[in-house]
Every structure is written in structure tokens, then in C-alpha cells.
């Protein structure tokens, strides 16, 4: 299984990520998820979210989740995940996840599981920034 992880302070470059996908004759399903910073948090308007990570632990925990994903869904061919850190303005993505697999069901299951587990175990935190 191809596993790609990137924690980056730069904007997420979809086009490059998508161009980097390796097509195989067995991958019938590709699922992409974008998590995007919304303009309000708990009902109050915000202008950005500042993401902080314990980088070394975050990478380690993501790697463990990738390995567990491979055990649970051995036919998944590729999992790629990019999490942006630092200041992410409203309407820009903070998270990009792509799962490629022979069939649709396993891609949906694995993608949701991975995001759920990330939100349980990967040490990344957010701080809302409001305007002016």
C-alpha cells in the first residue's frame, strides 16, 4: 500500500497532489476529502484557524493509523494525507485525504475511519483567529 503523509505550513496544492496520483488497473475507486476552514466557530465569525502540532508525535501517530488501516482494509492501494499547520484562512483547506481502492465501499469506510482516528489520536490543535 502506498502511504504518503505531509504536515506542511504551506497551502495545500490539490492540483499537484492530484497530478501525483499513480493510476493502476485495479483501482476502481478514488475518494478525496477536503476539510475546509469555515467562517464561524461556535457561532462567532472567524477569519482563520491557527493549527498547532506536536510534529514528531503527529507523524508517528499518522504512520500507526496508516499501518492499522492497511491491516483493516488490505485491498486499499493508496492512502495520502496532507494536513496544513499554522495559519489557515477561512475557505482554504486544512486537510486533504485521498484513498484509492478496488471498490467504493472500502474507500469510504477507510477514509471515514482514518479521519475519526485522527481526531482521536493525532496531536494537532486549533485556535480560532477573529478579524481585525
Amino acid at each position: 500500500m502506498l502511504k504518503h503523509l505531509l504536515l506542511t505550513r504551506d497551502p495545500i496544492d490539490h492540483a499537484a497532489l492530484r497530478a501525483g496520483r499513480i493510476a493502476t488497473p485495479t483501482a476502481g475507486a478514488v475518494l478525496e476529502f477536503l476539510g475546509i476552514v469555515r467562517g464561524s466557530e461556535d457561532g462567532a465569525p472567524i477569519t482563520a484557524i491557527d493549527y498547532e502540532a506536536f510534529d514528531a508525535m503527529a507523524e508517528h501517530q499518522f504512520r500507526k493509523l496508516f499501518d492499522e488501516l492497511e491491516r483493516r482494509w488490505p485491498r486499499v492501494e493508496s492512502v495520502r494525507l496532507v494536513h496544513r499547520l499554522g495559519m489557515v484562512p477561512v475557505a482554504e483547506p486544512s486537510l486533504w485525504v485521498e484513498i484509492s481502492s478496488p471498490h467504493r465501499g472500502e474507500a469510504f469506510e477507510a477514509c471515514q475511519w482514518l479521519i475519526d482516528e485522527m481526531k482521536r489520536a493525532v496531536p494537532i490543535w486549533k485556535r480560532s483567529i477573529s478579524g481585525a
Binding site: 514528531a56 508525535m57 479521519i115 481526531k119 482521536r120 490543535w125
Partner: protein
């Protein structure tokens, strides 16, 4: 005696736990072979605001989550942080 040997661990605070502790990291000298729970009691005595968020505190040694009976050694890095919020 051997078990009274003192070792040094670093404690790191993340996210708003830095505000509660007033620092982002500090060192503790502990008795070699002490467990994580013993260290956490000292940390919370020193920083009462961390006692208040005890139930929502996650604790790691190095890059792994560890239970309170995990034994600490010299140079260990212990991290305390609130629930994670990636995504």
C-alpha cells in the same frame, strides 16, 4: 541506594495547556523508576490549573500515549495536552 538515583525528565505542554502551566516546557528531577502517575501528581501540584482539566488531559511519553503505570527513565520527554482537534 540505586533506586534513589535521580533522573531528569522534560515535561512539555501543548496548545492551551501552555497557558495553564505558564510555560511550554520544564524539567523535573524524579527518582529513577518512578512511574508517570507519580510525575503527574507533582506536575499538578505545581500547576493547579492542570488539576482542574485532569479528566480531559492526554499524556504521552516521547511519541506514544502511555498509561499512568508507565515507568520513566532519564531523558524521557513527557507531553501533556488537551483533546486533539485535527482536521
Amino acid at each position: 541506594m540505586n533506586q534513589e538515583a535521580v533522573v531528569r525528565v522534560e515535561v512539555r505542554y501543548w496548545s492551551w495547556f501552555k497557558d495553564l502551566a505558564g510555560v511550554d516546557h520544564e524539567t523535573f528531577d524524579i527518582v529513577a523508576g518512578n512511574d508517570l502517575g507519580t510525575l503527574l501528581r507533582r506536575v499538578r501540584e505545581k500547576h493547579p490549573k492542570l488539576e482542574e482539566v485532569r479528566r480531559s488531559t492526554l499524556v504521552a511519553v516521547g511519541v506514544e500515549y502511555q498509561p499512568e503505570n508507565h515507568l520513566l527513565g532519564d531523558g524521557d520527554e513527557v507531553s501533556l495536552f488537551p483533546p486533539v482537534q485535527g482536521g
